[in-house]
């Protein structure tokens, strides 16, 4: 065993921020391909690794450099691999073990993970249409084309070619263009983090005590500095592996090559949405609560159907939100700690609580120090004294309430979404009409992040699926929750329901809804590694 002496040096000057080589980054990292309305997802399993690698070598996924004002992409592929996929392509165990555990275990690979992500009962991996056992994908090929029709033909052609080239294909997953509206009828994909492609961001300064939408590139791409100013763990290849010249050298030295650089992790979950169930329940509950269906549904989402926020816009600018976007995203929830405008448990508030590093944001040095020690903030006016009920008159430290500081700082837990809808869109009227057909619809939820555990799994586990998010109790995400009691016997003597939803702004007696059914069911999912293009060529070599 060897031990290096001295503390590690992490000075910025010693390792200058490297400029991103756009031609090494798969294009989907940079763009959602909004102009390519057609998409299909092919899930492949490797049968013959040699033939499969030959096929892969013939592919040329578009790079971020191909996307721009002058160039023009009509159809392209983007390719990602699961850990079993890398294994099947004969990438050595010693390399795969350099990937983080959540990737090598997979989304469905560990019961603890399934419990955290809410993938239990009807959402459990063993009920998925794909993702487990012989339906566990090895390679994801994202096909993009101008129109849906062309994407479908493209998918058929690619499927035929891969089946001759050492792959078995699962049934292709097609998409529908719903004009940026998800099947329930809400405008989707409005808020995205803005990544610092120029490397100008210095994370962790006083400015980050307030919410920032500008996020270090290392939260998205491996091999770049993340929000801690560090490099997220990534796979390096020891000297002596195959074709080392195809990979860039790792800055850590030792002759190692960088398999991770400019790659990212792609999280894929196929979410089926029960549009009829959603609007039927909303109509019934709205009648009980004496509000309109729109108001109730919008409170659950936290935005209007057209995407307008329920929250008032801020006067100050938020870093990473430009003037054009500020009508949609120029708000935080600091102005609404009680959830009177936007319920604390609303979908968008859980997905991104827009918190800064310190409650109270940027303030004077003494207040900052007090806030850091957990002694800051003002007790809320009119609050029932948080003094002990026994003995009466026992004074407590005059700090703010702990529940005002219950949520983690958002900048460490952001994801870049690249979802597309599938199935047939029905209107609300059709959904409420028992005689109209009830076609399947849902979302191919896809997101990119550099640290699955700290980003996707945290957002999904600690924010969306959690029944205790933000000091709430008994409610999960009003759209995504699995509604399974937690905990339940035998762990506790009675079931603790999670199927509630509270709108603090409403009248006290009608504020809380209970008995929410499950509106969204997970149909499949996997964690993929979306390599940089040099890494892609190395894997294919």
């Amino acid at each position: 065993m060897k031990f290096a002496a001295g503390s590690q040096k992490f000075s910025v000057t010693a390792m200058a921020y490297r400029m991103v080589q756009a031609d090494d980054v798969q294009a989907i990292v940079k763009t959602g391909f909004g102009s390519l309305k057609g998409a299909a997802y092919l899930l492949l399993r490797v049968i013959d690794p040699v033939a499969a690698r030959i096929w892969l070598r013939a592919q040329s996924p578009a790079s971020a450099a191909d996307i721009g004002a002058r160039s023009h992409v009509d159809e392209t592929v983007q390719i990602a691999f699961t850990a079993p996929g890398l294994r099947a392509l004969a990438i050595g165990k010693e390399i795969i073990c350099r990937f983080p555990l959540e990737f090598s275990e997979g989304m469905a690979g560990n019961e603890n993970r399934s419990r955290r992500l809410g993938d239990i009962a009807d959402n459990a991996p063993d009920r998925w249409e794909w993702g487990l056992g012989d339906k566990e994908p090895h390679v994801l090929v994202i096909l993009l084309a101008r129109t849906l029709k062309r994407a479908a033909t493209y998918a058929k052609a690619v499927q035929a070619s891969v089946e001759l080239a050492g792959f078995a294909a699962l049934p292709p997953l097609l998409t529908t263009d719903m004009d940026d509206v998800e099947p329930f009828g809400f405008r989707d994909g409005i808020s995205q983090p803005s990544f610092d492609w120029d490397g100008a961001r210095q994370p962790g300064t006083a400015a980050d005590r307030d919410y920032t939408n500008e996020i270090a590139l290392g939260e998205l791409l491996l091999g770049h500095r993340n929000e801690y100013g560090l490099f997220t763990e990534r796979p390096l290849v020891a000297p002596g592996a195959k074709n080392p010249h195809l990979l860039p050298e790792a800055w850590e030295g030792g002759g190692r090559r960088d398999l991770g650089l400019n790659g990212t992790y792609l999280v894929y979950r196929q979410l089926e949405q029960d549009v009829r169930g959603f609007w039927t329940w909303v109509a019934e509950e709205a009648a009980r609560a004496r509000v309109s269906s729109d108001d109730l549904a919008e409170a659950m989402v936290g935005r209007r159907l057209d995407g307008q926020p329920l929250q008032d816009l801020l006067i100050r600018a938020i870093p990473g939100i430009d003037a054009k976007d500020s009508a949609w995203n120029g708000f935080t929830f600091d102005t609404d700690p009680d959830g009177l405008s936007c319920p604390i448990g609303a979908h968008i508030r859980r997905a991104n609580p827009r918190t800064g590093d310190l409650p109270g944001g940027r303030q004077g040095p003494i207040d900052t120090l007090l806030a850091m020690l957990g002694l800051g903030g003002c007790p809320r006016p009119g609050a029932i004294s948080s003094a002990l009920p026994w003995p009466q008159n026992h004074t407590v430290w005059p700090g703010g309430a702990p529940e005002d500081d219950a949520i983690a700082s958002a900048r460490f837990h952001r994801i870049l979404r690249r979802s597309r809808e599938y199935g047939t869109r029905i209107t609300r009227e059709q959904a409420l009409d028992p005689n109209s057909p009830h076609p399947k619809a849902g979302l191919h939820f896809i997101c990119l992040n550099a640290n699955i555990a700290r980003q996707f799994e945290f957002v999904q586990g600690a924010w969306m699926a959690s029944a205790t998010f933000g000091a709430l109790s008994g409610e999960q995400d009003p759209l995504l929750g699995n509604r399974e009691p937690f905990p339940r016997p035998p762990v506790s003597c009675h079931e603790h329901a999670t199927n509630g939803f509270t709108r603090p702004g409403a009248e006290p007696t009608r504020r809380r809804s209970t008995g929410l059914p499950r509106f969204v069911t997970v149909r499949g999912g996997a964690y993929f590694f979306l390599p940089g293009l040099r890494a892609f060529n190395w894997i294919a070599s």
């Binding site: 603890n112 590093d357 957990g374 029932i384 026992h394 500081d405 983690a408 460490f412 600690a462 035998p490």
Partner: protein, 430 residues
């Protein structure tokens, strides 16, 4: 107010550890490794209404190889211990005797640690009690009975509220009060001895400091300045020369730990490790534990430790003549979230509390870096974590936030009069 107390029994395991583990597993719920059956046959925790949390954990340290960086430690061979820890209301001594009297099968467990078949269990347990160097209690004075009664009150109010029809706050309040008839035990008087001890503990360092400053102002200041300067020099020398120890925790360990986690809103955490050798680190650690204990007893007494509001109880305990120590906590949420919370909300506190442990990521000036080396820190803490063999929580569905909120609800419920605004706030809590 009834203050919280705890007993921690630590004894070296002298017989087969695997058999001991098997016996401890017999206390757990089928299919839930590490979660104690509240009514198990060895210690039926549910019978004791003053127990908040309890755990049996075999302190088997898999990180002793990290001592290779400190050759002076290599001559020690450290034993494997069994720890039985209980956080309770009132006197832990009385509870210990009661458990010893009423749980004969506990005798069999401690026979692994050298308790004679004919020996006196209570005396043996007393003899093996250790005192935590630092203990944290989320809310000093909140009893198990209180937590349960208030949770019931909250549930009843939640149920009753939608059936009310009054519009005005005052009318709504009296309607609610009419609909629920909770059983709420009145608080017991605070024991005088505890109050005296607490006051002495609070004032001792302050009085000592004041006396020194008043009686020998110049000498004290001079010593303080000189001491601080020497401390900073020594600290920096250590920080810059401490070996870096950083490798990933074995996947098998993580798999094992994961099995016992996330079955309820609260999880347990036990970690063990060696202290950095030498007089400087040893003294520093003692001073830090004293400071932490003082803060936990007198400042962070109601709902949060610094900015962390998810810890119910936590203890730092020395082993082996301060060569090793272990840390136990009971926290809300998932493990990864707990660590992120720690790093981002109290990274400096983590550095302060743990940087004298071997393998801790390098700190700067005692408070900086360290835990903020995010992934290195996460590897460190997972590497040192050990599986808890049997863990009990008295109120499994409730987080620390729930408990505090329920207390506020009870407070309002029992308040003689509230203004309309206060009632609105109170209703919002329900």
């Amino acid at each position: 107010m009834t203050p919280q107390d705890r007993f921690v029994i630590v004894a070296p395991v002298l017989r087969d550890v695997h058999l001991l583990r098997r016996d401890l597993a017999g206390m757990t719920l089928a299919g839930y490794p590490g979660l104690a059956d509240p009514c198990n046959a060895i210690v039926p925790f549910c019978k004791y209404e003053t127990i908040h949390f309890a755990r049996f954990v075999v302190l088997e340290d898999n990180t002793l190889q990290e001592r290779a960086a400190y050759p002076q430690l290599l001559r020690y061979k450290e034993p494997i211990y069994l720890c039985f820890m209980v956080d309770c209301d009132d006197s832990a001594c009385d509870l210990l005797s009661q458990i010893a009297r009423e749980c004969p099968r506990l005798h069999e467990i401690f026979e692994y640690c050298g308790l004679d078949r004919t020996g006196n269990l209570a005396e043996w347990m007393q003899a093996h009690r250790v005192r935590p160097s630092t203990s944290y209690v989320n809310w000093i004075g909140r009893t198990v009975t209180q937590a349960r009664e208030e949770a019931k009150l909250h549930a009843e109010l939640r149920k009753a509220l939608p059936n009310c029809d009054a519009g005005e706050p005052q009318a709504l309040l009296s309607q609610l009060r009419g609909q629920v008839s909770p059983e709420l035990t009145s608080p017991a008087p605070t024991p005088l001895s505890w109050r005296v001890r607490n006051l002495v503990h609070f004032y001792a360092p302050l009085v000592a400091a004041a006396l020194c400053l008043l009686l020998f102002p110049l000498l004290t200041l001079a010593l303080l300045v000189a001491g601080l300067a020497m401390f900073v020099v020594a600290l920096r020398r250590h920080e810059q020369s401490d070996p870096i120890i950083d490798w990933p925790p074995p996947p098998a360990l993580i798999a094992q730990l994961c099995k016992g986690e996330h079955h309820a809103v609260t999880n347990q955490y036990t970690a063990i490790g060696s202290a950095k050798p030498g007089r400087f680190r040893g003294t520093l650690q003692l001073a830090i534990f004293y400071a932490l204990d003082w803060v936990a007893r007198h400042i962070c007494t109601h709902g949060r430790l610094g900015r962390i509001s998810t810890i119910h109880f936590a203890h730092w305990i020395y082993l082996d003549n301060r060569r090793r120590g272990f840390f136990c906590s009971n926290y809300d949420g998932g493990h990864e979230a707990y660590m992120d919370d720690f790093i981002n909300k109290a990274g400096f506190g983590l550095n302060f509390a743990f940087s004298d442990a071997i393998g801790y990521p390098g700190t700067d000036w005692l408070f900086a870096k360290g835990a903020w080396r995010e992934q290195e820190f996460k590897r460190f803490q997972r590497r040192h974590q050990i599986t808890t063999d049997a863990w009990y929580k008295a109120y499994p569905g409730l987080t620390a936030h729930d408990l505090a909120r329920n207390s506020r609800i009870r407070n309002g419920f029992e308040k003689r009069s509230m203004s309309d605004d206060e009632i609105r706030r109170w209703l919002a809590e329900i």
